[in-house]
């Protein structure tokens, strides 16, 4: 091949290499949410209550135990799963059962859900149960405006009043 043509072809191929890198390093743009949507993130790290209440040991039971093991109460380790329900404008959008962690199911329940929702003003209702009976005794309901791209985090922080909408 003619040397000048070969050089020209080299320039074209180097140019194609640069164009490929330059274009795909930023394009095409990606839309992380559908247009006109906001995002609700439910993130939870909470230890449910113990499944069974502690029981006081009788003197006979205590006598059978080794002296260093004579704790007055027998407390089963297993915890109840944490249940979370999220409703948006009266419709359920998440129904979470967070199983306690650990081999004995005695650790915290951890959960995460990602829920894209149409942007706008919504009535959000979050309910949480953390006892063995599954009683939803923690409830938070609020009307919120969720603009496009807004990320609302639903968390549970007992030190901050329970269910947190952030």
């Amino acid at each position: 091949m003619n040397r000048a043509v070969a050089w020209g072809l080299q320039v074209v191929l180097y140019g194609a290499f640069a164009a490929t890198l330059g274009w795909f390093s930023t394009s095409p743009a990606f839309e992380p949410l559908p247009p006109g949507h906001a995002l609700i993130r439910v993130s939870l790290n909470h230890a449910g209550q113990r499944k069974a209440a502690c029981r006081t040991r009788s003197p006979e039971e205590l006598a059978k135990l080794a002296p260093n093991m004579r704790a007055a109460e027998d407390c089963p380790r297993e915890r109840a799963p944490v249940l979370v329900k999220v409703e948006l404008d009266g419709k359920s959008v998440a129904d979470i059962v967070a199983i306690p962690s650990g081999l004995s199911r005695d650790g915290a329940s951890v959960a995460y859900r990602r829920i894209p929702v149409p942007a706008g003003t919504h009535r959000i209702r979050v309910k949480l149960a953390d006892d063995a009976a599954g009683t939803f005794d923690r409830v938070r309901e609020e009307e919120m405006r969720l603009d496009p791209g807004r990320v609302l985090v639903v968390d549970f922080e007992p030190g901050k009043g329970g269910i947190v909408l952030r």
């Binding site: 072809l9 640069a18 791209g149």
Partner: protein, 530 residues
């Protein structure tokens, strides 16, 4: 006797091989065969890795390692150190992207040529490790500016890992709980972006351990051309930062780097579980290839201690480190002997071509060399050469030394052309060239694969050096250079090989017949020395 044919037939070139050859031909036209970047993809990967490291160190000098200060430190670099700050950042990005591009091409090319089984298995599997670590290191780099792109990429990654039962939602809390990620967590991200490239370097080192010599530097002209292209791109298209990370907000459009961050987009379509399944299927399929498929390979080389003096030329020339030199196990007065690891042997015969005992001028009735190929013994090849050369008629009489993996030389045979096909062009000892000329040929055409594209990595380069007397065993100076020609012709280049032959034949016709006083090969004796 008939020419010694290799025992395992090669598969006909499939669509993938033909596509690779066509792409190669385009790049051959522009760069020439030797500088064709498609034949230096691995070495280019090393080059881009080093550029990425150097520019990364440059950026790190001015980088604030806190979550709150990271983005501003980069913005200040762009603002105050222009053009060097912005240039370094862009060069870092584009060299990392180029690394992905050449790695993907390297993988596709080796896959299309079925370079993954048998003696290549270790290299293939370690290459997969490099691939995984490269993406892990690269994706982690997008978190460090801690802008909205970083926040989204990190969250998408933690969401992906949270799909695994072992995490189950715990990781994403590190990113979304609270108003800002903690500096402690951010320090972990920085550590990952330093530690993972180091791990990648270790994997790259392992990747080239079973090839000898490893080509980790592209040819100078190609290296400079590629580096200059990246530099020009970095100047022409500097990077821009997105607004600072805001955990309460997701941008509508993200300028995605598709080279590294395409898994995030894929997760939007497949879901986290689907992405794990897709990744596992991809990696398991590639990792299983060496075990699930058979590739054609000639039986491993065998050492004949009676004919091995421990010169180590086979050891020096073996492209896969399959030959080692070990202490002598017999009573011969040489300190070492060659030993072949059959699992690593490619069956290329380059060692046979390197062995000084392979010279056909030895007077024994049977030619046995120090290290030989069971499927194409050098003695049988000598007999084939003798009988075929003796049968030549007309002028000029040409012997073609072909390569099993290159253009099919045997179809060129006619009354004045004989073809001897070797397992690799470098299996032909230079003494065979001289022997053919003294046995009656007017010229010898040695045909290897395309330049730099040897199936066994180094064969074409070794042939060129041996024929130029730059490597032992060398073609003797007494052989007229005009009667020997080395050409390159790949599997699909039969037309080119035919043209080379016609051109050579015309040149030989101008030279006239071989000098009558050229001594014929010596006569055989009943015994030969070891």
């Amino acid at each position: 006797m008939a020419m010694n044919a290799p025992s395992l037939p090669l598969p006909a070139p499939g669509p993938a091989t033909l596509a690779v050859e066509r792409v190669d031909a385009l790049f051959d036209a522009a760069f020439g065969q030797r500088l064709n970047p498609m034949r230096h993809l691995g070495a280019l990967g090393f080059l881009f890795f080093w550029i990425c490291c150097a520019s990364g160190i440059w950026i790190y000098v001015g980088f604030d390692t806190s979550a709150t200060g990271a983005r501003e430190s980069l913005a200040a670099m762009d603002r105050n150190d222009w053009p060097l700050g912005a240039f370094a950042r862009a060069l870092h990005r584009y060299s990392a992207d180029a690394l992905v591009l050449v790695t993907a091409l390297h993988l596709a090319r080796e896959l299309s040529r079925r370079h993954y089984a048998a003696f290549r298995r270790f290299t293939w599997l370690t290459g997969l490790v490099v691939l995984v670590v490269m993406f892990a290191a690269g994706i982690g780099g997008y978190w460090l500016p801690w802008d909205q792109l970083a926040q989204w990429s990190l969250t998408a990654t933690t969401e992906w890992f949270d799909a695994l039962p072992v995490f189950d939602g715990a990781l994403t809390r590190n990113v979304i709980a609270g108003d800002q990620v903690s500096d402690r967590f951010f320090s972990l991200l920085i550590f990952l972006h330093i530690g993972l490239p180091l791990a990648m370097l270790g994997a790259m080192w392992a990747h080239v351990q079973r090839v000898s010599p490893a080509r980790t530097h592209p040819p100078g002209a190609l290296a400079w051309g590629s580096a200059a292209t990246l530099a020009l791109l970095a100047l022409a298209k500097p990077l821009s930062l997105m607004p600072p990370a805001d955990l309460a907000f997701l941008p509508a459009r993200i300028p995605l780097d598709w080279f590294y961050l395409f898994p995030h987009a894929a997760m939007a379509w497949l879901g986290p579980d689907g992405l794990w399944v897709a990744l596992a299927a991809f990696l398991v399929t590639l990792a299983a290839l060496p075990y699930a498929t058979r590739v054609p390979r000639a039986p491993a080389a065998r050492v004949s201690l009676d004919n091995c003096n421990g010169c180590a030329r086979c050891f020096a020339d073996c492209p896969y480190d399959a030959v080692v030199m070990v202490p002598r196990t017999d009573a011969r007065p040489h300190p070492r002997q060659a030993q072949v690891d059959a699992a690593l042997c490619a069956g290329c015969g380059i060692c046979t071509g390197a062995c000084p005992s392979s010279t056909p001028f030895r007077r024994g009735e049977t030619l046995t060399t120090g290290i030989d190929m069971p499927s194409a013994a050098i003695g049988a090849l000598r007999e084939s050469l003798e009988s075929r050369t003796a049968a030549l008629a007309g002028a000029p009489r040409v012997v073609v030394f072909g390569c099993r993996w290159g253009a099919p030389s045997r179809v060129l045979e006619d009354g004045s052309t004989a073809a001897i096909e070797f397992l690799c062009a470098a299996m032909a000892p230079p003494s065979f060239v001289e022997y053919a000329l003294r046995a009656g040929a007017d010229g010898v055409l040695v045909a290897g694969c395309r330049d730099g594209d040897c199936e066994f990595r180094t064969g074409t380069a070794i042939v060129a050096e041996r024929l130029a007397a730059a490597r032992m065993p060398a073609l003797r100076a007494s052989v007229p250079p005009a009667r020997v020609r080395f050409v390159h012709a790949g599997r699909t280049d039969l037309g080119a090989l035919r043209a080379h032959l016609e051109d050579f034949r015309a040149a030989l016709a101008r030279l006239g017949p071989r000098a009558a006083d050229h001594p014929p090969p010596p006569k055989r004796q009943e015994r030969h020395h070891g």
